[in-house]
């Protein structure tokens, strides 16, 4: 009886349950950071990694595609971690942005978006080639998926790729975005990702909004708005270039 009442309450107030759950996860992560790694690994980096691990556990146990949010009482995670709150919070971080910092890397930042799309696309297309795919539609769709998991399916749909290839391109984008979240804090120092200009270039090169926002949160939250500023143009640029210009190039090479 008490259990029924509790489940009903949790379902009616799912967002509040998510706040409590994430709060506990954050506390746990910061304790781990302090006691186990003596601050070497940032608490937020641990929290994001734990989030991804829990998403895996949730996905395996429910068979759904929303990670932990598919687990009965934790549906609120999908609202709290959904696009609306994410965008809202990213925009809020811009309050401390200095216009001069934006201008300093403005040109290279916008340039990096184009380079980023071309680079990821080329890598993805070459991998497709290496695995024996010869159909230009397939190569283009997989290349687009290596850009982001939105560019992939948009391109695939525009070119009429089969659904298993579209699924493959989404998977490539997912791998990229999750990897960016995990790897960024580990390699940030080595690639010089410690200032607003580098963050703008990083955002433009990576392009995946979730990867970039997670990666910078785990590295240095002050850099978030700079990375997000350029990353926000990436998916659009990819959807513009991949099914048109890049497809024509691939087709020319393939024939």
């Amino acid at each position: 009886m008490i259990w029924d009442a509790l489940t009903q309450l949790a379902q009616k107030n799912s967002l509040l349950v998510a706040f409590v759950f994430v709060g506990i996860a954050m506390w746990f992560s910061y304790q781990l950071s302090k006691r186990l790694t003596y601050g070497w690994m940032h608490g937020s980096a641990i929290a994001i990694t734990i989030g991804l691990l829990l998403a895996y556990v949730g996905g395996v146990s429910t068979g759904g595609n929303k990670g932990l949010a598919d687990v009965g009482l934790l549906g609120g995670i999908a609202i709290m971690g959904g696009g609306m709150f994410r965008d809202f919070a990213i925009v809020a971080t811009a309050f401390g942005v200095h216009l001069d910092d934006l201008k300093k890397a403005g040109f290279v930042g916008s340039f990096s978006v184009i380079i980023g799309v071309l680079l990821s696309f080329t890598v993805g297309a070459l991998v497709a080639l290496a695995f024996g795919y010869t159909d230009p539609v397939v190569i283009t769709t997989i290349g687009a998926g290596a850009a982001t998991y939105i560019v992939g399916p948009v391109t695939g749909a525009a070119l009429g790729a089969s659904s298993d290839i579209i699924a493959l391109s989404i998977a490539a984008g997912l791998v990229k975005s999750i990897l960016v979240m995990i790897v960024t804090p580990l390699v940030a120092k080595r690639v010089g990702l410690d200032n607003p200009s580098a963050a703008m270039i990083y955002g433009g090169l990576m392009g995946t909004t979730s990867g970039v926002s997670g990666g910078l949160a785990a590295t240095d939250p002050k850099l978030v708005p700079y990375g997000a500023m350029t990353a926000t143009f990436y998916t659009g640029a990819g959807c513009l270039l991949a099914p048109s210009l890049l497809f024509l190039i691939v087709k020319a090479f393939a024939s």
Binding site: A69, V91, I178, V191, G236
Partner: protein, 124 residues
């Protein structure tokens, strides 16, 4: 008042996303182009307006600061709802394409940093 800050933030976000949607339609792409970026620009411009035109008082600032400090928990929730199973089980093509794309992009950061015009300050 705190709600003024939250309202300004929400209005900027909505305005930016709307502009991004319009731009996406104009370019004939099925995606939002730069919505979050425009929203951030609106907020930055508002915050930098001369005080006599637009003065965000201390309490209004707190409305924005609160959501800014909620950023990391929201990102943790976002991480917890990712489709990690699909990514892990996706097979070699997807994994190799994703891994190499990330590696190549990271390697490009130091290269592009050479083109930053003004390297003074900011610790570069």
């Amino acid at each position: 008042m705190v709600i003024y800050g939250v309202a300004i933030l929400a209005a900027c976000t909505l305005g930016g996303l709307f502009l991004g949607d319009l731009l996406g339609q104009a370019l004939n792409v099925q995606a939002n182009v730069g919505g979050v970026g425009f929203a951030m620009l609106f907020l930055i411009l508002l915050a930098n307006l001369p005080k006599k035109y637009f003065n965000i008082d201390v309490m209004s600032r707190e409305g924005v600061a609160f959501w800014s400090s909620m950023y990391i928990p929201i990102i943790v929730a976002m991480a917890a709802k990712q489709d990690v199973v699909t990514a892990v089980a996706s097979g070699t093509v997807a994994i190799i394409a994703g891994v190499l794309a990330v590696a190549a992009s990271f390697a490009m950061i130091p290269v592009l940093m050479r083109f930053v015009i003004d390297k003074e300050g900011g610790g570069t």
